[in-house]
Symmetry: C2
Subunit: 174 residues, 2 copies
């Protein structure tokens, strides 16, 4: 961030009065431009004893397997974002259930929030950002080809909780 | 957002290829500037049967009562942000517990995430953004002077769950 998005003046890094961190400050119009973590919303779509996974058609991690997830948008709820991503990436109609993981991905300035979800029907398909979408039994998860650590963590916790018949919320920081 | 933070060129609103929403796009350097919801992290600090509340010294809602909460920063976890805000606003040393509420505040482009917390000692005080900080019994909550609906929702759910001896996670959209 080099220039003020409001007035185009060059920005400086400065600690505003009463603050404790350096911010991008505009000396021309006075605006302080804060930068904060973004939410990645996603879900595990479940059908009977199977889960829906997607192979990525985009970078990062092109060709690796993931759960439908993506940036939460302004104007929607986290749960709504998770359902929308399932629709976009796997053409999947889901009902969002309980929150299973909150993963802080410090370096990427992201918080990943994944939900359990019910697949409402079998009319899923390959969305624009996917190469392949399939329903698999948890024993068939391609552990060596999982795209992200937050997804691996979520799948592991899902299997553990399923085995115990419980639905917990798990935190993790990467 | 009118000018490109990377190159200062005027931005246009356009739907990028493969996208479905208008974004701030720079025709000069090609950068797409996404805008996404921000996380407000906070907690209910608890000491025996009492909770810690703060009266706001800043706008919005100057003079109204709230729980310690504020924008999550890059480089920290949600739980860490919640603990930091308790320190800043109430000089309170807390141990973060379970997540109690996730509140989507659609118009403000915010997601409020509040945790149960244990106050580690009674050395709390009035932080720079507070007028007053006090430990109260839930029966003393100043319901007519609560700053935000997300805080009211959180306090209500806390009391209900306490009465039942359980710790649930509650979602709400405003």
């Amino acid at each position: 961030m080099k220039f003020c998005p409001d007035c185009a003046h060059p920005l400086i890094l400065d600690i505003p009065q009463g603050d404790h961190l350096p911010r991008h400050v505009c000396r021309a119009c006075g605006t302080i431009h804060y930068q904060n973590p973004r939410i990645i919303a996603g879900c595990i779509p479940v059908w009977e004893d199977k889960i829906l996974i997607c192979r990525r058609a985009i970078e990062p991690r092109h060709g690796y397997w993931t759960l439908p997830a993506g940036f939460m948008e302004n104007g929607e709820a986290v749960e709504g974002g998770a359902a929308r991503e399932a629709q976009e990436e796997a053409l999947a109609d889901v009902t969002i259930g309980s929150l299973i993981t909150v993963v802080n991905v410090i370096k990427s300035h992201q918080v990943h929030m994944l939900f359990r979800a019910r697949l409402n029907n079998l009319n899923f398909g390959v969305g624009a950002e996917s190469l392949e979408v399939k329903l698999i039994h948890p024993s068939e998860i391609p552990w060596n080809d999982i795209a992200f650590e937050s997804i691996r963590f979520t799948l592991e916790r899902y299997i553990e909780d399923q085995a115990q018949g419980i639905e917990r919320l798990h935190f993790h920081t990467i």
